[in-house]
Symmetry: C2
Subunit: 331 residues, 2 copies
Amino acid sequence: MSTAQTEPAATAAAAPNLQDILAAHERIRAQIHRTPVLTSESLNAMTGAQFFFKCENLQKTGSFKFRGATNAVFSLSDEEARRGIVTVSSGNHGAAISLAARRRGVPAWIVMPRNAPRAKREAVEAYGGQVTECEYNMESRDAVCKSVQDRTGAILIHPYNNPRVIAGQGTAAVELLEQVPDLDMVIAPVSGGGLLSGIAIASKSLRPQIRVIGAEPKNADDAFRSLASGKIEPTAKTETIADGLRAVLCPLTFSILQKNVDEIAMVTEEEILSAMRLLWERMKLIVEPSGAVPAAAAIHGKIPARDKRIGIVLSGGNLDLDQIPFVRKQV
Amino acid sequence: MSTAQTEPAATAAAAPNLQDILAAHERIRAQIHRTPVLTSESLNAMTGAQFFFKCENLQKTGSFKFRGATNAVFSLSDEEARRGIVTVSSGNHGAAISLAARRRGVPAWIVMPRNAPRAKREAVEAYGGQVTECEYNMESRDAVCKSVQDRTGAILIHPYNNPRVIAGQGTAAVELLEQVPDLDMVIAPVSGGGLLSGIAIASKSLRPQIRVIGAEPKNADDAFRSLASGKIEPTAKTETIADGLRAVLCPLTFSILQKNVDEIAMVTEEEILSAMRLLWERMKLIVEPSGAVPAAAAIHGKIPARDKRIGIVLSGGNLDLDQIPFVRKQV
């Protein structure tokens, strides 16, 4: 594929800095929700910490992904944008790209497996994306993506291996630190590492003494193992209810996390479910399993929380309400 | 019972005015959440209106009731407060009184039927209230309440037949109109009428041209019939999923609504469920059935919404997550 058809080169050298993130914030500010930061006395009382929940589940399209997608789509030149956007994420990034492209007035092709859940297809279509089917394997996915590019000239916007996407995700931390300047820690989920990279760069730049923590399921602990071994480790086992956290780091995000993240905390499936239910019950917020992972780490003692002021990114709220995982028996 | 043991005389003459509501706001400001106002492009697109959702489901104790309860409890003299508080609501008002009393450092007795749902008892107890059992009828309830008063000297704080409670509920509209000054309409649910009374007085005082609308289930349409007939009508049928909206007006709230409310909109059970599910799905907010009634009226064409800027009070978010009414089949 020609370089004109691809996203900006995603090498370690291309990591965005604070200026890129602030510029992204200016670029997307009118398009996104400035999400509220909410607190819960009962969760504070359970842990002795002071939690500040950055509610990206209340972001447009239901997740932080709309920040990065909007920054990437609106960073394109008119000539580039006109060709349309293609991406391979069937989840929150696909929905986010669909709406961002519609806002820009250009088409978006979202490559997803034939057997993807109906709810995910419908979300993409509701935001104006064109679902483009592939088989349930990486080879088919990449081949279909390539054929869309060849046919249309569409620009690929990867969900995290893209500095503009990372800069967009970092705007959540810019807002959080405006809303609550004196945080001791910030915790975000880590999967491909786009969100955590953006959060880490923005947080360490704006407040050098802050501790930046990634949270991931024990059952998808590749970020933990990668930072421990010093090289990108594959996921050994991806059976986790946190279905948004199954991706693995890329060289770009790995190098950013190596420099800017203090610690990766891991949580069990039971801890994720328990935290998710607590967020629903106590905070009246619909948070998807992946979005509850950082809260699970904070609530279930995976980080030293007592007497600390902790920013927690509730990253998304998209799930099938007919398949709520913690609901016991329903009549 | 002696007058010292009762709440302020609740007659039509005692209706709070804007000054009372602003004073209430000063009194409770540090105790409550200033709840966010959220918007939804997709709900706007469905209706052609611009909705501004005042999220009292995110209020402490999960409903607006904490505003009125806090104002009433903190308006008591030290001598009065010391005797403790008693109330007969087993729902959101009971939970709100429990926490407000705990904040004041005084006991709260919450009279509720022996067969009340476990979730409601647990909520009251979690906030420090003392559950006091009665039989499932008004005579027993009032007798048990009276015996608590006789034994302890506790002050009764009624859920809506109380000007201080009404003034507290009105603070939600003060905030809403600070957050979004140029509303054409505001809609709140109506049951006993405490919330709608406070909202109506504050809204009409701060913005005389605003239209104030109450919303109630067709199956509990006593407010509609009362305002139509000019006298308080009993509820004919109280089989509604909106279990917080089964109370009837009292002379105080009736007279306030007669003067300050433009219209009562009614919704079916299906419309309540549909609106509730939309709020969960599109806005990622947990709203209880009663809390979804105004949104149901606005979404389902019960009021002229197109091109209007409409404030909608999402009044509460408390429900048993194991009994979500719209969830179809759960495995």
